[in-house]
Amino acid sequence: MAALCFLAPNLLGFLVFTAFPVVFSLGMSFTNWSLKPTVVTRFVGLRNYVDLFSDRHFWFYLYNTVYFMLGIPIGIAGSLLLAIFLSQPLTVASSRSRFVLGGAMGCMGLLAVLFLVIAGRVELALWVGILFSATLVGILTGKVGFRTLFYLPNFTAGVAVFLLWMQLYNPHFGLINGMLSRILHVLGMGHVELPAWLSSTRSLLGFLPLPESFNCTGVGLGAREAIMIMGIWLGVGGNDMLLYLAGLSNIPLELYESAQIDGAGVWARFCHITWPQLAPTTFFIVVMSTIGGLQGGFEMARVMTEGGPAGTTTTLSYYIYTVGFERLDMGYASSISWFLFLIILGLTLINWKFGNRYVGIS
């Protein structure tokens, strides 16, 4: 009885807002349920699911979703690299000389910036200022400071940061194309056409013989790459990096010491100690990113591109939103979301089966 008193508030909410909706949406995926007042809801059997298979939009958006997920391995590799960097002993200065060195660097930076401002090179002063501040943070706070800076993009992720990146990707006055054109000028390739980013339907896999409904217009950097690059910038220093850091700190140091005595190099130590020891962490990250990736892309699509150009950035989650809340076809939307769930479930089971074996061996 006592247990029920403790459980009641949560259980009530759980039944109303989680358990009932699960059952309800599964049931409704077999109907033509619509929010349009003229449509009478009736049972249609498996028709929604059959329609799904012949819905060429669905396959296109599934392809987009999977395409975005190609960024996951890059992100994981980056996170691992950052975590390895952060786990190295970093003794720039002993704790005593740290403040002396930091103070000296701070004064130097301040002087340099002041000098450049007086000389009228405000732009250069800004860059020097950024560089000196990052160095100063590194000297004064060491690894904690770097970890904070790496984690910041992930922490602030959201609509505001997406709006910021929309500006950075502006083909004419955005930061990214500005940088690219400067670099290309220096390399003497000023005539090379700059990518149009969010308004381009090109992709790096544009050479694949895809169906015409997939709206591919050739090889290049397009909206999908833009979102992928932003995703990597957001995610690489995020939770995965922290998980790898925790994993790295759990590896016994004796393993490295004995390997060093045996004369193993950096690469050999990574292959035979670090990577196998981190296998459980990697496994966890892969499972979670797969689940997240298949459901992802909604916010970016809604905020940055509205799914376009020509549907190239529409992921399944955005498709469910448009079908359900714009076309008001809730039954069909439910069936897509359940189909997505089946894909997630299947992939997770596969991950589990093969991953466990891999983790078990090492």
């Binding site: 949560n10 930061l175 359900g324």
Partner: protein, 301 residues
């Protein structure tokens, strides 16, 4: 470095070389980290610079505005007239701020309350069928959030809570994940403490409040941080739930801001800075707990 110096079996020359090599390695590592940190920072610097540019300079490639115009912030906050429209903006940025904090705080308080009670029932009180019910909780954590959104919207329509604060707060207040997290945390607290309290004649409620809750504090803080952040950023649910500008939270407010005033990049960026700033402050304050929480969640989950 002192270790390699102590090794007497190495010749002094070899040891010197070793030291040099390590110093170079350290320097290279430091330089790599500084450049990566700059890469993480530059977009934010651009954002701040763009937010104080006058409209005529927004499309220029230079970072630093020639004629800084901090009044952009006042325009966004409706303290000044918009120089183009020559009247105040139609959107209520300040109110979105309040809404975001208000909704996130309520959801966090309710979630911590309901989840800790449920976690207590799942971890400290034996009752028939306990593990089966818990398994049901776990099973629903597998279901994608999207599957739940559509029926939840229908429930809100039936309860006539669309376009209200309650509609935003209620569905978030009962978290299976939170219950799971706290249950795992409470399992690490020794049961003997409960038994001792019971012998002293304490009720379940007193044991909960005076023994378990204080010891579960790190878990509660972790859940509170996750929950607050998740709701501060929450996008899908407010997007379908809220129709009035007056009730918008920051993320969907920003979306409407961009669609109404997207041409005035400097204003969008000023609003963006104000959106991101509380997060940066929160992060600097809470980062120790947050890092521990994320690492804890993975080890246990």
């Amino acid at each position: 470095m002192s270790v390699s110096r102590d090794k007497s079996d190495l010749s002094s020359k070899a040891s010197h070389w070793h030291l040099r090599k390590r110093q170079i390695g350290q320097l290279a590592l430091f330089v790599a980290m500084v450049s990566l940190a700059c890469l993480a920072l530059v977009p934010f610097v651009w954002m701040v610079c763009a937010s104080v540019k006058p409209h005529s300079e927004v499309e220029a490639l230079h970072f630093w505005p020639r004629n800084p115009q901090p009044a952009n912030y006042l325009v966004v906050l409706r303290q000044r007239d918009d120089p183009h429209l020559e009247r105040k903006l139609d959107l209520h940025f300040g109110k979105w701020y309040f809404n975001s904090f208000f909704v996130s705080s309520w959801v966090t308080m309710l979630t911590v309350w309901t989840s800790s009670m449920a976690a207590f029932a799942f971890s400290r009180i034996p009752w028939p069928g306990r593990d089966k019910v818990f398994l049901m909780y776990l099973a629903t954590m597998m279901v994608p959030g999207l599957v739940l959104m559509i029926p939840n919207y229908q429930i809100m329509v039936s309860l006539k809570l669309v376009n209200t604060y309650q509609g935003l707060i209620l569905p978030g207040a009962f978290s299976a994940f939170g219950t799971f997290l706290l249950r795992q945390f409470m399992l690490t607290i020794p049961m003997s403490l409960d038994e001792a309290a019971e012998i002293d004649g304490a009720s379940h409620f007193r044991t909960f409040v005076e023994v378990v809750l204080p010891l579960a504090r790190p878990g509660l803080i972790t859940l509170a941080i996750f929950c607050f952040l998740g709701n501060y950023r929450s996008f899908f649910w407010p997007l379908v739930m809220i129709k009035d500008d007056w009730l918008r939270t920051l993320p969907i407010g920003m979306l409407s801001f961009n669609s109404s005033y997207g041409q005035q990049t400097e204003l969008v960026m000023a609003a963006t800075v104000m959106c991101v700033l509380p997060l940066v402050v929160l992060f600097v304050i809470l980062q120790k707990q947050l890092v521990r929480g994320i690492q804890l969640g993975a080890v246990k989950g």
